[in-house]
């Protein structure tokens, strides 16, 4: 039985019993032991006295050596039941007379010479006394008592003690069983209450307080706690109810939201449809707008030249105005289209490796007229080891074009500086382009909106300097597209500095198509030597284009063969084995893509470089199918001239040293794409 797990009731009783028991036992045992010890002492004194008397009475008998008299004297001890042995010794230690109790065994005792006084030997009390006659020793008396008085007294005491303990224990039990209720009663009541509370989960029950002691305070505390719990319980119930109501409300809300979501989804679909319609409309419009613009710009250029040759200088200026207005209109259309493409997220990257220095050289030479227009000079600083970068060359070029043409536009009689450098930041290599001018500059306020579309530094600027206000916005987006960044510092009236960082190896998350490095299909392969005159085959269903191209290219010294349809073009290509083919896309029956496919599929013709000349803005498709270059109408004739001249030069040298030339051309990755961006950039810079 584990004493610790007893009930409080039992523990209290046990404690009371033990306490009183210990008190009773200790006090009575103390008393009894004291009594027994003092009794023993008095017993020994008694025995000494006894011995003195016997000694006195037997002294004379000893003195007169009367053994029988001494024996008689000793036998008087029969009355003393406790004395079991009495011996008289003569002075020389011999037994003179002795008496022993009839019922007692006779212990053998020898006289110890030094033994005097009394001693407790085992359960016996022994006394040695000198027997004297008138102060003179005549012998020694030995008395031995079995202390039966003491023993019987001890026995009696034990009995009394036991019964006393039993009786007092009984009364202590009686009293404690009554008194323990004082303490255990309230505790048991508290326990009952607690059990009831936990069983019924009802917090309205209260324990009754009996007394003002600690348990009373405990009960008070318990009641307070119950009250608290009850209060919280009620609050919890309320909160729960409220929660239910709220949940219901929320569910209703969710249903409403779902409906709304559905409506929104519908609205979104509608908006997307509308957007698609808008995109389609824009695409159509651009095509429809570009075709007449093509004619306007082309013929006005021709007219201008011819008029110039005829010496009618006054008309030249008018024609130049027509030309300028047309180009401006074209640039507007292009910018709007580009921006809408970017906004629609359809603007992809054509990543390729290209030589930076070469790209810059080409661009600067193209830009030269625009720069010198305001009597500006350009300084180009290129770092030595620029080498090759991998990016979308068209977009890089367009960014630089925009910035440089802006710089020249807002600078008069000043200097435009282009610094190109390499740097390493955050473990990546960057190409840094820094375009500085000494122009009017930009105020801090203007700077805030600088890269927003349709925003020029000032509304008045548009009037004074012209421009669509889209150039910087597009440049900004292109830079972001290539994970680069653009920033501007400026001081009004002192000029501006634009800095563009583009990773030297752009990694595109949005790549429109696989990179097309069609160097293999480059003019170098066109080593056929059928005609001594370089023939250019123009395939276009638009007679205006055919006419303009023919006149332009003939003037450059090419033999031009024109085809009005794809079928005819393919046939003619086999006949004349041209140096270059220019190919339109949108044609009845057999469109440009189909023609390109067939050209490249034919082993005889596949080596002929094809320059796409079209209003369809789908460079990647062209490169995919094997086109060498991609120009968008209206064609920049200078650009076209450069490209075709390149192929002519390549072919003539290839005839003699094809092996050597081929790789060098292949190394020029920009060649086939150059015109892609010229369509938009050049007109803008001309403004």
């Amino acid at each position: 039985m584990n004493l610790k797990n007893l009930s409080i009731k039992r523990k209290l009783m046990l404690i009371t019993m033990l306490t009183s028991g210990v008190a009773v036992v200790l006090s009575s045992a103390g008393f009894l032991i004291y009594d027994l010890i003092s009794f023993r002492h008095s017993l020994s004194q008694d025995l000494v006295t006894q011995a003195d008397i016997i000694g006195y009475n037997s002294a004379a008998a000893m003195a007169f050596k009367d053994e029988s008299a001494a024996t008689v004297t000793l036998s008087a001890l029969q009355a003393k039941e406790d004395i079991v042995l009495a011996v008289l010794y003569t002075r020389d230690g011999k037994i003179f007379a002795q008496y022993s109790h009839p019922n007692s065994p006779r212990p053998s005792v020898s006289l110890a010479a030094e033994a005097r006084g009394y001693r407790f030997e085992g359960s016996y009390l022994e006394v040695f006394r000198d027997v004297t006659l008138n102060g003179e020793p005549v012998g020694t008396l030995f008395l031995q008592s079995d202390m039966r008085q003491w023993n019987s007294r001890a026995k009696r005491y034990a009995t009394i003690f036991l019964s006393f303990v039993l009786i007092s224990g009984f009364f202590a039990l009686l009293v404690s069983s009554k008194l323990q209720k004082l303490i255990s009663g309230p505790i048991l009541h508290l326990e009952d209450t607690m059990r009831m509370v936990s069983a019924t989960k009802s917090y309205e029950v209260r324990a009754t307080k009996f007394y003002g002691d600690e348990i009373g305070r405990l009960i008070d505390g318990f009641n307070t706690m119950l009250a608290e719990i009850q209060q919280r319980d009620t609050a919890l119930h309320h909160a729960n109810d409220e929660l239910k109501t709220r949940t219901l409300e929320l569910e209703g809300e969710i249903v409403r939201r779902k409906e709304m979501q559905k409506e929104l989804l519908n609205a979104k679909h509608a908006a997307e449809d509308a957007n698609r319609a808008k995109s389609a409309f824009l695409a159509n419009m651009s095509h429809e707008l570009r075709t007449p613009l093509n004619a306007i710009i082309g013929y006005s250029e021709m007219l201008e030249e011819e008029t110039h040759e005829l010496g009618k200088v006054e008309n030249v200026k008018d024609l130049q105005k027509i030309q300028g207005a047309g180009k401006h209109l074209l640039s507007l259309i292009n910018d709007v289209l580009d921006l809408s493409k970017i906004e629609a997220g359809r603007m992809g990257l054509h990543l390729e490796a290209f030589d930076i220095t070469q790209m810059i050289d080409e661009m600067v030479s193209t830009l030269h007229p625009a720069i010198s227009k305001n009597a500006n000079t350009i300084q180009v600083h290129l770092a030595n080891d620029l080498g090759v970068m991998r990016a979308d060359i068209t977009k890089v070029r367009q960014i630089l074009f925009n910035l440089l043409s802006n710089a020249s536009k807002f600078t008069d009689h000043g200097t435009i500086t282009l610094d190109v450098d390499k740097s390493t930041e955050e473990g990546k290599d960057w190409i840094k382009f820094r375009i500085a001018d000494t122009g009017i500059g930009i105020t801090a306020k203007q700077k805030a909106n600088l890269f927003q579309e349709f925003t020029q530094a000032d509304v008045s600027i548009a009037r004074k300097y012209g421009g669509t206000g889209l150039g910087l916005a597009i440049s900004y987006r292109y830079v972001r597209l290539m994970n680069g960044r653009i920033s501007v510092e400026s001081e009004p009236a002192h000029g501006s500095v634009f800095t563009v960082h583009i990773p030297s190896r752009v990694t595109a998350d949005v790549t429109e198509a696989a990179q097309t490095d069609k160097a293999g299909g480059s003019p170098a392969g066109a080593a056929a030597t059928k005609s001594d005159v370089d023939t250019v085959l123009v395939i276009d269903d638009d007679s205006t284009v055919r006419d303009l191209m023919s006149r332009f290219l003939t003037r450059l010294g090419f033999n031009v063969v024109a085809a009005s349809s794809g079928e005819e073009g393919l046939r003619l290509a086999r006949q004349v084995n041209p140096l270059v083919v220019t190919l339109d896309v949108i044609m009845p029956d057999c469109d440009g893509w189909a023609v390109l496919n067939k050209l490249k599929a034919d082993p005889e013709l596949s080596k002929i470089p094809v320059i796409m000349v079209t209003v369809v803005d789908n460079e990647s498709m062209g490169f995919e199918l094997g086109a060498s270059h991609y120009l968008i109408k209206p064609v920049d004739r200078d650009r076209l001239a450069v490209l075709i001249e390149k192929h002519r030069a390549a072919r003539s040298s290839a005839a003699t040293d094809a092996e050597v030339l081929a790789p060098s051309i292949r190394r020029d990755p920009s060649s086939k794409k150059e015109k892609g961006r010229l369509k938009g950039t050049l007109p803008r810079t001309m403004n």
């Binding site: 002294a59 003195a63 007169f64 050596k65 009367d66 008299a69 008138n134 003179e136």
Partner: protein, 195 residues
Amino acid sequence: MKKVGILIVIISLLSTMALRSHAEGLESSDSSEYLIKAGFIYNFAKLVEWPTTAFAQADSPIVIGILGDDPFGATLDRIVADKKINGRGFAVKRLKWTKELKDLRDCNILFVSSSEKEHMDGVVDAIKWLPILTIGDVPGFARRGGIMNFTLEDNKIRFEVNVEAAKHADLTISSRLLTLARIVQQVAADGRKPE
């Protein structure tokens, strides 16, 4: 041969020792009787009270007179030498029976030797009424008016007390002594032979 010689010597030695011890035993038994009697006399002195008139001074010695042949030799003198009872020492005198009774009357204890059987009555008469403890070594002495007398019972020395005579002599004999003694009555008050 040699061994036999040694054996003879040892045997002769042992036998001479035995003879000697026997002779001593006889001698000592004889003298031990008077040794005991001398001790008794000394012990009697302890258990008997004399009236104060018996002594001249508080520290006057107890005078023991030996009448007739002295059987003690030096034993009695040795026993009582340097002993004191109640501040009194002892003095031992040896007396002869004469008509001069002054010597007798100076004693406190008078031992009547067995050689004085003839003068037994005379001695009693001579010191009648005087506080003198008479101790006889003569059979019947107490009955004839002596106060105490040595007897032999079962080879043990005992003594008789004539309580009447003691009373006459104004001597108080302790009850402790009386319990050990045989009390005898005086046969003839005048010491006359009851013939």
